[in-house]
């Protein structure tokens, strides 16, 4: 599946499909990568090293900072696959790369293709926005 590159990079990881949208700010502990949103069905799950698969985003404009801080703290997702373009996460990834030379690729896929990525699947993302299941 080839998507639109919102932040370039190469990554492999295990898919973490979110059942509901998540705001990184207020929704994730930037020190551990764990979901802390009290109303989120996957509260307690860690994003660290996973390929985060999320149909829609929500919430705070501070999520750019939280993504950059997760990169600094070493608990960021390996990659993010979104169903819609999100400037806030894309900018967070761009700043993290600039400051720490670590890339978190972000790719936008059409909703129908995004839905074919099962939770727990081994996923890789390449420089050109190709998302593959293994």
């Amino acid at each position: 599946m080839r998507g639109t590159v919102l932040a370039a990079g190469v990554a492999d990881g295990v898919a973490l499909r979110l059942d509901e949208p998540l705001s990184l700010w207020g929704g994730v502990d930037p020190g551990s990568g764990e979901i802390i949103d009290a109303r989120h069905p996957q509260r307690g799950t860690s994003l660290n090293g996973r390929v985060l698969v999320m149909a829609a985003v929500r919430g705070s404009s501070s999520s750019s900072s939280v993504l950059a801080e997760m990169v600094r703290a070493g608990c960021a997702p390996a990659a993010i696959v979104l169903g819609e373009a999100d400037l806030i996460l894309a900018v967070g990834a761009a700043v993290a790369e600039e400051l720490y030379a670590i890339r978190v690729p972000i790719v936008q896929l059409p909703a129908a293709e995004l839905a074919t990525i099962p939770d727990g699947a081994a996923v890789s993302v390449d420089e050109g926005g190709e998302v593959s299941l293994h």
Partner: protein, 405 residues
């Protein structure tokens, strides 16, 4: 400028356009990455190119004694707030810059605003134009004085594509109850996601404070950057105007059952919070209270004080506090035992006294984020319910408006 161009690529813009002002959220400390970023800008000699206001920071700089957390975090938070001042930003430290006459854009102005509730207010209630800018992009646009010509900066994207109609079973009395508006915002965010919706069925000329409550909640439960309230917001004198003459993608009804469900979910206490449930604190002013809201709190108190051991805390902007000081309002509120917090918010800064009892709020946004951020249980209610509950020390309910349940 590189970040602004990156933003333009993500948004698919072909050119940049000038802005008249910016509102920057990056001054809130989220860890050392936020300091590393601004120090890079300072080393490069950057200065903002347009008048730029600052969002809340980690702590109340005017009342540092209210801080109950880690001293190192307070010090880093203070450093970050100061760093943004040194880039030429104004030390407004408020999440509601639209309440400051000097910071409020005019209809049609192109601006770069961050802070999710301010973005919605700017687009929807003022009719000034901003995309959903986040941390880093906000200050990058402020320095460049330009934004990508894309998204909500362009007329076509401001068209409502979803129509949400209040159903006939929503009681007329509920439309006059402040607690409807944050609840409606939660429903709007869930239904709309990031789409622009038009709400039909509200009375004309809904007060700004109520539109503010809708937007803040909708930007918490969804990624809403703009909504139209037919007959109240400037780009929606009629449904046809909000739709820009087009057809909506979807039309849906919002009934009383859905609103009650959303209201009940804002209360996290197991078993809900019926009248008589003991509370430890009440937090008001999210987004920051306007002068009108500060006066309403005084009126609801009617000279009574919060019950012994119950905190009543109100967050507002430092410049509005100065006005409230001038008219004697701040002194009278403090005299009754009300704590006034500025520059930050009680779900960001550790300011509430530790208590095993739940905290009551009239804010959909506070109810949404406080459980995760500061680990408290929340009881949601109207401003009147919150203030009376603070006085009684237990939940007081004014259930009539929500109909017989």
């Amino acid at each position: 400028m590189r970040l602004v161009v990156r933003a333009a690529e993500v948004l698919g813009a072909e050119r940049l356009i000038p802005i008249t002002r910016a509102h920057v959220d990056s001054c809130l400390y989220h860890g050392e990455a936020t300091v590393d970023f601004v120090e890079r800008l300072i080393e490069g000699g950057a200065q903002v190119g347009v008048p730029t206001t600052l969002n809340v920071g980690a702590l109340d700089l005017l009342h540092p004694e209210l801080w109950r957390g880690d001293a190192r975090v307070a010090e880093r938070g203070r450093l970050l707030m100061g760093h943004y001042r040194s880039l030429g930003c104004q030390p407004t430290y408020t999440c509601a810059p639209y309440q400051l006459p000097s910071a409020r854009p005019s209809f049609g102005d192109q601006v770069a605003w961050a802070e999710s509730n301010a973005i919605v207010f700017c687009n929807s209630v003022i009719g000034a134009r901003t995309e959903r800018y986040g941390d880093f992009a906000d200050i990058a646009c402020a320095i460049a004085g330009r934004v990508p010509d894309a998204g909500l900066h362009r007329t076509a994207a401001r068209r409502a594509v979803l129509v949400l109609r209040l159903a006939s079973d929503v009681p007329a009395a509920l439309l006059d109850d402040g607690s409807l508006y944050p609840v409606l915002g939660i429903v709007l965010g869930r239904r709309a996601g990031s789409r622009v919706a038009a709400i039909e069925g509200l009375p004309p000329g809904v007060a700004e404070e109520r539109l503010k409550a809708i937007g803040a909640a909708a930007a918490s439960s969804g990624a809403v950057a703009m909504f139209h309230a037919i007959g109240s917001t400037p780009e929606a004198p009629t449904l046809e105007a909000a739709l820009q003459g087009g057809e909506p993608e979807e039309v849906a009804e919002i009934g009383l059952a859905e609103l009650r469900g959303a209201r009940d979910e804002l209360t996290t206490r197991a078993g809900g919070a019926p009248a008589g449930t003991p509370i430890g604190a009440v937090s008001l002013g999210t987004p920051h209270a306007s002068l009108f809201e500060l006066r309403a709190i005084e009126r609801e108190l009617g000279g009574a004080r919060p019950a012994r051991g119950v905190e009543l805390l109100v967050s507002t902007a430092r410049s509005l506090l100065a006005e409230a000081e001038e008219e004697g309002l701040a002194r009278r509120l403090r005299g009754l035992g009300v704590e006034l917090l500025v520059d930050t918010c009680s779900y960001i800064a550790p300011v509430l006294r530790s208590s095993p009892l739940p905290v009551m709020t009239d804010s959909g946004k506070w109810a949404f984020y406080a459980p995760g951020n500061i680990g408290v249980e929340v009881v949601f209610g109207s401003l009147r319910e919150c203030v009376r509950s603070a006085v009684e020390g237990r939940v007081w309910r004014d259930a009539a408006h929500w109909g017989a349940e």
